[in-house]
C-alpha cells in the first residue's frame, strides 16, 4: 500500500510545484496544532470517508479505539471532543457547520488555536479526498 505522500507524488509527477506546496502545507499543518488531536481527527476523517488506507495510526491503541465512538469516550480530553465534533461537521457539510461546534473549539484552543486547527484540518481532509478521488480516476497509479 502506498502512502498518501507517494500517491500525491505519483499522480502529480508532472506538477512538482504543486507537490512541493502540498508537502509544505502538510508539514506546516502539524506544527500549529496539537499533534495527537490532529491525528485523532485525521483518523476520524478516514473513517468517515471510508479511506481505509489512512486508518492506521501510531497513537496509543486506547485512543485510536476511542475515535469511532468519541462522544462517549472518557479517555479523550474536552479539547479532543470539541475538535472531533468540529471535524465531523467539517467533513460532512462544511457550509452548514454549527456555530456551537466552532465555539466549543474556540473555548478549548482559543482564537489563534482555532484558526490554526481549521486550516490544518483543511489540509489533512483535502489530502484524503484527493487520494480517494485519484484511486478512482487513476487506479494504476494511486492504488
Amino acid at each position: 500500500m502506498r502512502s498518501t505522500d507517494d500517491v500525491i507524488k505519483a499522480v502529480l509527477q508532472e506538477a512538482p510545484g504543486v507537490v512541493q506546496a502540498l508537502s509544505d502545507a502538510h508539514g506546516a499543518a502539524w506544527v500549529g496544532t496539537d499533534r495527537v488531536t490532529l491525528e485523532l481527527c485525521r483518523v476520524r476523517i478516514a473513517q468517515l470517508l471510508c479511506n481505509v488506507d489512512e486508518y492506521a495510526s501510531e497513537l496509543d491503541p486506547a485512543l485510536v479505539g476511542a475515535i469511532s465512538a468519541w462522544p462517549r469516550s472518557e479517555v479523550l480530553t474536552a479539547g479532543q471532543h470539541a475538535c472531533l465534533a468540529f471535524a465531523e461537521e467539517f467533513v460532512i457539510d462544511v457550509a452548514s457547520l454549527a456555530d456551537a461546534a466552532a465555539a466549543a473549539v474556540v473555548a478549548e484552543l482559543g482564537e489563534q488555536g482555532f484558526a490554526d486547527f481549521v486550516n490544518a484540518l483543511l489540509v489533512i481532509e483535502q489530502r484524503q479526498r484527493m487520494r480517494l478521488a485519484w484511486a478512482r480516476l487513476f487506479p494504476d497509479v494511486a492504488a
Binding site: 504543486v18 506546496a21 457550509a95 482555532f114 486550516n119
Partner: protein
C-alpha cells in the same frame, strides 16, 4: 470583473473569530503557494479553474 451573487443561506455569515486572527505564518503561506501553484497549472483552462474556485468558495464557507 463580474460580481458573483452567492445563494441565500439560512446560517448567519458573521466571522466566528476576528478576521485579524489568521493561521500561523508557515501554514498560511504554504496554503497560499498550494493555491497559486494549482491556479498556474498550464494544462487547465483558466475559466474552468475559476468556475471551480467560485463553486468551492460558495460551498466551503466555514467563515474562519
Amino acid at each position: 470583473m463580474t460580481n458573483v451573487e452567492l445563494p441565500d443561506v439560512a446560517l448567519p455569515r458573521n466571522p466566528r473569530i476576528p478576521v485579524t486572527v489568521r493561521a500561523h505564518t508557515d501554514l498560511r503561506r504554504a496554503l497560499g503557494r498550494w493555491n497559486t501553484s494549482v491556479m498556474d497549472l498550464e494544462t487547465l483552462e483558466p475559466s474552468v479553474v475559476e468556475a471551480i474556485r467560485l463553486r468551492a468558495a460558495s460551498h466551503h464557507d466555514c467563515r474562519t
